[in-house]
């Protein structure tokens, strides 16, 4: 009996929704579409070498994305920052980890609504190799 691979599998049996300790993304009209979102960016480790003080305070159109944050930081901090965070095609390096209000944001284009309080963005590079 020859069963095709794609006949065996039923639709995705992935894990149920993951419980996150972070609350739902605030959808607070405090920063409506087209208005400015205030963002405090904390750069850590080698990324912190590029700034004189922390946090770096930004204002970006709401909703914003971490891609917009990176580009604005790149504009302010120059090539040294961009080369640490982006590959040659302008994509975020996978070991550059970005968190917004404590939750990791993997998709740089994901729109993020900020509340009345400034959003906290944290960025760090985890580059260590492994072995064994």
């Amino acid at each position: 009996m020859n069963i095709r691979w794609d006949a065996v599998a039923t639709p995705s049996r992935r894990a149920a929704k993951v419980q996150t300790w972070v609350g739902d993304v605030i959808d607070d009209p405090g920063a409506g579409e087209g208005e400015a979102a205030r963002i405090n960016v904390w750069l850590y480790g080698t990324l912190a070498m590029d700034v004189a003080e922390r946090p770096v305070r930004l204002q970006l159109p709401a909703p914003f994305s971490t891609d917009m944050v990176i580009r604005e930081l790149g504009r302010r901090l120059g090539d040294a920052f961009r080369e640490r965070v982006l590959d040659a095609d302008g994509r975020k390096l996978c070991y550059c980890r970005i968190f917004v209000d404590g939750a990791e944001v993997e998709d740089p284009m994901q729109p993020i609504r900020a509340g009345a309080a400034p959003a906290t963005v944290e960025m760090i590079l985890l580059t260590a190799i492994e072995g064994g």
Binding site: I3, V8, W21, W42, G132
Partner: protein
């Protein structure tokens, strides 16, 4: 084995069994340490844990002797002799911790202000608890330079890369519960050390008792082959030749391959153009396939797998603009030359045997069959071809591994019932909250990205090569993991050519004995001596620690804490349905002795002194995925206990923090078939044609060629081939043996030779401290058993040892066990025992793989009787 099922814990304060984790190897098996009146009197396996399943190898039970070794470091030391060398006495003087940390902080601060990349952190692979503290420290400090010394370099640059790309995991193993035919290429899973070694011992034994046929391909017949149904001796470093010849038989002579799997789960149907690259849809950029139903090229996602052509040549006309061929057709044509006769010439495995092995493998694969496991219908392919350290210890390691794993994918034996399994590539997570869930997922080309990884640079998609910022050049050699270029003879020349804008100045070493584990000692000694400042955190004064400026006495595994002994699950949690998901911790059983301190606390204190605690907290948050109330805040000075508590609660809920885990030892939950046999449920494909190597090479060449660096293109072809190691090319008269080293089940790296129980067992073993040569080969050379010989490589490097003549080795082989041959005084039990094989290894560009930086671990040698025995 002692029945521990009715153990009453905490029977009294003075008599207690404490659940924790071993660290005599990176398996980190779960153990119970019996402490009576403050003394550990026994260590056994913990039957409650999936990690070890209550079994513990000789190394683990001997952990008592490592802990109580009187030669353990107990006070910080400062070098007074500024000269560093193999024969230099450091002139140690005892200092206080404050003195030590003051000086270390000053040096680190200087380097950080100048250029943080000048710090190189190096750690042993043995102590898995070191992973997160070091990841976080170097992330906070700002250096990308991390070394895993020999334990990393020798042991994973191909194994982990291929296991990651093809199985979304760190390593591969047969599905012991259901596999009927396992062929091991230079691997000992379930028969020696390695990932999940304790658990795999039982799984493998049960499989053999059930009737699983085990074929071991190895120049040496030892731990795995000794239990095998069949030992296939082959010439060192020729695994790819044997595997490709087997693939030839399967495809060309038997016509046995799983077309449905190849169509649905690999890039075999992807159309390849004359430039060796995918033919892409102009509108979407997606790789195209030939749709047999409509007779046209279409993006892969728009065609039913059953309608995708695997053979033929097609005119993609207006859409693709070129004539194109499915990747499988190219593979088929590529395999045409790899006949068993060709394979025999290279590997010395007789052609008839190659045909038989291929036929047995393909027939037992039962292509097209299914089986029901726990009510779930799944593909059933009860064969597995696995590989590890042996095949990967060569310049040609990538193709060795690729060719071996190709056997699995030709018959669809990948992460399904009975087949080659990755170690837990998919998990639904903890059932109560779904945390820790991960699953492989596709990139834009449909190829698999692992759901989790040990580091943060995935094996796929491949990073963009760039002019290196790492001293090990891994950001240029993007297919690599660990590097020889921190210690190589020609590192300065390479750094010049690659315009590295700094030079390493400070080394922070944790437990690694790189002087013994990487390559010949002259090269590594020079590299270590070049550091302006070196700190070593260690249990003993090893040969490497002797080069340090400051030595800090570490706590051992019975004295330390680790909230995640066996996480990520892809590293050391056993694969398959035969065990549960399990999260044990390591907890202290005994206090520090003298001035010993836990290295985790030391790293945190250094971070505080440097003023980078906020950065370390951020790194811990990122590395441990800490969220919400468990996220470390600002620059607050959390203790390591608090960090572990946060880690545990973050994953298992507020009621299961460190105290709960100290009481319970571990948490576990059952696996589901769709987690273990995930491949049918994930819409991902794996590359049987590594198209991505083409642009990778072009980009590397664009950087290297203008700088006068030649990268050989033959290592970057999309299909595997046999590429000879330098040892295979040696024409020097008299150099007629292939020297290699192999893991000794009694020992871990160079660490355990100091353990007197293990040393005693090794002295009783005829192989552990000797040089194995085939009996007939030895007799022809006039050697007698026990004779002392010199082993010399082509460049004149020599090591000495005593011969053991045996039938259990390939006639051309010269096998040395483990990483022995200590010469330092700091480990007196270990000193003078065994053979220091690595002194035969050249450490330079010429002897490193130009694709994944694997060091060539085989050497062409000649042997001569030592003078006293010649007389």
């Amino acid at each position: 084995m002692t029945d521990l099922s009715d153990i009453v814990r905490n029977t009294s304060q003075n008599d207690e069994w404490v659940s924790t984790s071993c660290a005599l190897c990176y398996g980190s098996c779960s153990i119970l340490a019996h402490r009576v009146d403050g003394v550990v009197v026994k260590i056994e396996g913990n039957p409650e844990s999936s990690v070890g399943k209550g079994r513990l190898c000789g190394k683990g039970v001997s952990g008592i002797m490592t802990h109580y070794d009187p030669n353990r470091l107990t006070v910080p030391l400062r070098r007074t002799n500024p000269k560093k060398g193999l024969d230099e006495d450091p002139g140690w003087k005892e200092i206080t911790w404050d003195e030590a940390l003051d000086e270390i902080t000053a040096q680190l601060r200087r380097v950080r202000e100048d250029d943080p990349r000048k710090l190189v952190a190096q750690r042993t692979t043995t102590v898995t608890a070191a992973r997160i503290p070091f990841v976080t420290f170097i992330a906070a400090f700002g250096t990308p330079n991390m070394s895993m010394a020999g334990g990393g370099l020798h042991c994973g640059n191909a194994a982990h890369l291929l296991s990651g790309v093809m199985h979304a995991s760190w390593s591969i193993v047969p599905d012991f519960e259901y596999c009927n035919y396992a062929i091991y290429f230079g691997a000992s899973k379930g028969h020696g050390a390695g990932h999940a070694s304790g658990s795999n011992m039982k799984l493998a034994a049960d499989a053999r008792a059930r009737g699983m046929k085990m074929v071991v391909v190895d120049p040496m017949c030892n731990f795995a082959a000794a239990k095998a149904s069949e030992w296939v001796p082959l010439r060192v470093g020729t695994d790819a030749a044997l595997a490709l010849a087997m693939a030839h038989v399967m495809v060309h002579e038997l016509g046995m391959y799983d077309a449905a799997y190849l169509q649905a789960k690999t890039n075999a149907p992807y159309l390849i153009g004359p430039d060796k690259c995918y033919v892409r849809d102009p509108a979407t950029g997606k790789p195209m396939v030939w749709d047999l139903k409509v007779g046209a090229a279409r993006p892969f996602g728009e065609v039913e797998a059953a309608d995708m052509a695997l053979d033929g040549e097609y005119d993609t006309g207006e859409i693709g603009g070129v004539r194109a061929t499915p990747a499988f057709a190219l593979l088929r044509e590529h395999l045409r030359k790899h006949t068993p006769e060709w394979g025999e010439k290279i590997s010395t495995v007789p052609a008839a045997n190659i045909r038989r092995l291929a036929r047995e493998f393909a027939q037992e694969a039962r292509i097209g069959s299914t089986i029901v496991v726990d009510g779930v219908t799944l593909p059933y392919r009860p064969v597995a071809a696995i590989a590890f350290r042996g095949s990967q210890g060569h310049m040609n390691s990538l193709y060795n591994f690729f060719a071996i794993d190709l056997l699995n994918h030709l018959v669809g034996a990948a992460d399904v019932v009975g087949s080659c399994l990755g170690f837990n590539p998919a998990s639904n997570g903890f059932p109560e909250n779904g945390r820790l869930a991960y699953m492989p997922y596709p990139d834009d080309d449909g190829l698999m990205i692992p759901g989790t990884w040990m580091g943060y640079h995935m094996p796929y998609p491949v990073a963009e090569p760039r002019l290196p910022q790492k001293a090990g050049l891994q950001d240029f050699f993007v297919m690599s993991l660990n590097t020889p270029y921190l210690d190589s003879d020609d590192r300065e020349e390479l750094w010049e050519k690659f315009e590295l804008p700094y030079r390493p100045e400070v080394m922070l070493n944790f437990g690694a004995n790189s002087l013994m584990s990487v390559g010949n000692r002259d090269a590594v000694a020079k590299a270590l001596a070049d550091y302006k400042f070196m700190v070593s955190i260690d249990l003993f004064e090893t040969e490497t620690t002797r080069f340090a400026d400051i030595v800090l006495p570490d706590c051992g595994h019975l004295q330390t804490l680790d909230s995640r002994s066996n996480y990520p699950f892809i590293f050391s949690l056993p694969a398959g349905m035969g065990s549960e998901w399990c999260w044990p911790i390591r907890q202290p059983v005994l206090p520090p002795v003298g001035e010993q301190r836990r290295f985790q606390d030391v790293m945190l204190e250094l971070g505080d002194r440097l003023g980078i605690r906020a950065d370390m907290n951020a790194a811990y948050n990122a590395a441990m995925n800490l969220e919400g109330p468990y996220r470390l805040q600002g620059d607050r000075k959390y203790s390591f206990e608090e960090i572990c508590d946060a880690d545990l609660k973050n994953n298992f809920g507020p009621e299961r923090g460190l105290d709960w885990f100290k009481e319970n030892g571990l948490i576990k939950w059952p696996k589901k078939p769709e987690e273990v046999y995930w491949r049918p449920f994930a819409d991902v494909r794996v590359p049987v044609y590594w198209e991505f190597l083409v642009p990778v090479f072009e980009k590397m060449d664009a950087i290297a060629a203008p700088r006068g660096i030649k990268i050989p293109s033959e290592y970057y072809e999309p299909l595997p081939d046999f590429l000879p190691c330098l040892s295979h090319c040696c024409q020097k008269p008299g150099f007629d043996l292939y020297a290699f080293y192999y893991r000794d089940v009694l020992h871990t790296n160079s660490f355990t030779m100091e353990n007197p129980w293990l040393d005693e067992a090794a002295q009783l073993d005829p192989f552990s401290y000797t040089v194995a040569i085939h009996a007939e080969t030895g007799r022809k050379k006039g050697l007698k058993d026990g004779a002392r010989i010199w082993i010399e490589n082509e460049k004149g490097r020599k090591v000495a040892g005593r011969v053991h003549l045996t039938e259990a080795i390939h006639p051309e082989g010269l096998g040395v066990a483990a990483c022995a041959g200590h010469w330092g005084d700091g480990m007196p039990i270990a000193k003078g025992k065994g053979v220091f094989f690595n002194d035969l290894l050249e450490l330079d560009w010429e002897h490193s793989s130009p694709i994944n930086l694997s060091l060539d671990l085989c050497a062409r040698v000649k042997v001569t009787l030592a003078e006293e025995d010649a007389k």
